[in-house]
């Protein structure tokens, strides 16, 4: 089974539900985690996440620290991708990951690991890169405006979902709606901080964590004027479908329907 975990950033280590879920899915006590810290500008991002993951029960967790494109395809790096049962991609700047790894053997091996069933988790920038068409950067605000986000090629574990992160904390509904107008074949999924969207088999999304995910489905869109709007003017779009889903809720990409658990009924 393929599994993606797109985490909205700002994971609270005091509330380890998301990390525990990641380790469980990656094999629990047998989990061998590889950490990719290349998005981060902190020199200890890789070692920090590795030690947390080991404390929380992973058998092994190590970081690949290279930062140069010509080092990506070293055989020990490709071998580490083949051995991992889970891969964790840190936050930072998503273009650092894609400009470092886009078009390399490392990238192909990373996608092959995902297709074999290695669990892919990433937070913030590490969530953004999971999309094929990726939000590279953008501005905040509730109104979609022309050019308020920039797109580029992510690693593309899925081409069916456009992830955004720090979603309600950074007021990003406008840029996600703009993102869906620019990429209407992809489902917009905005993930809040300390919250994860877990995607199984590129089809079933479930929510784990403290806040919510906001889904913008553009397949129902009737019309948009995004091709005609210039500068930073507001964009019109009609017929978008929105879902706000909290922990335990799910969304099926095939049926385009959300499921919100109901309380069990009892006799009076």
């Amino acid at each position: 089974m393929t599994t993606l975990m797109a985490i909205g950033g700002a994971i609270n280590i005091e509330e380890p539900a998301i990390f525990e879920e990641f380790i469980r899915r990656a094999g629990g006590k047998k989990a061998r985690i590889l950490v990719l810290p290349q998005a981060s500008s902190l020199s200890n991002a890789g070692s920090g996440y590795s030690s947390w993951l080991k404390k929380l029960g992973a058998r092994a967790a190590t970081a690949l620290e290279f930062r140069d494109r010509y080092q990506a395809d070293r055989s020990q790096h490709l071998e580490a991708l083949r051995k991992a049962t889970g891969i964790f991609i840190t936050g930072g700047v998503q273009l650092r990951l894609t400009s470092l790894l886009g078009g390399t053997k490392f990238e192909r091996e990373l996608l092959a690991a995902y297709r074999r069933g290695t669990v892919i988790a990433g937070t913030s920038a590490g969530a953004a890169v999971q999309s094929r068409s990726m939000i590279a950067e953008g501005r905040r605000g509730p109104t979609p405006r022309q050019g308020m986000a920039q797109f580029s090629s992510g690693f593309g574990f899925t081409d069916r979902i456009l992830f955004d992160q720090h979603f309600r904390q950074r007021d990003r509904l406008g840029r996600l709606i703009y993102g869906v107008c620019m990429n209407p074949g992809a489902l917009g999924v905005g993930v809040d901080e300390n919250t994860a969207a877990i995607v199984e088999e590129d089809r079933l999304i479930t929510v784990c964590g403290k806040h919510a995910i906001t889904i913008v489905d553009g397949t129902s869109m009737r019309a948009t004027n995004v091709p005609e709007v210039t500068n930073s003017h507001p964009i019109a779009a009609s017929g978008l479908t929105i879902h706000v889903l909290t922990t335990g809720c799910s969304f099926d990409l095939k049926t385009r329907k959300a499921m919100i658990p109901r309380p069990a009924l009892s006799k009076a």
Copy 2:
């Protein structure tokens, strides 16, 4: 065999080599061409191309004139895609095509037609949409600069090539290099006006027409500072491989090598 023809715009009807090549590949006297004029703001774009294509020998050529998203999936439109042996996508604004058709059954049927061997040709905007990560719009100039082009999801007949058009006529080398830094897994192919890049089996590119195509291959890139550059400042990139290819030349996406025909040697 799958075939794409990405034409750089400004086709000269007095020099019909590209159209003749398209009709020949789509079945010659048996060719049934479907024209998609939705990128254009001219009401006669569809009928104009249809009548040229018939004059040049296609058995049939008709345009689908709808411009509303909710009309896309009508059964007669899907049926027309199934019957065509060639599909011609006109110029105009590429986002008009993708915001109209992204995520529709029409789009899926269009991709299925391509995979069955229906020849896909498009000029200008109709070339841009052939890429998965598409150049939606941008500025001219020889220097790559941050944000000088905007990307969005094209129809994605290929995810291995990022097409640009009106290439040398509109001085677009800067934006193509920027495009490759933002999408380094895709080969940048800038197509000049009245010139076509013909792609067979998503692997072999050959050039047809009056001017040239410019290929920017980012897989050899050593480094770029695109993640760190702000505003519209110039971007650095090292180790890109460039090929300028004219009619009769070819490029193999698998070997990453170009072939330039040599004159036959004769005895003195």
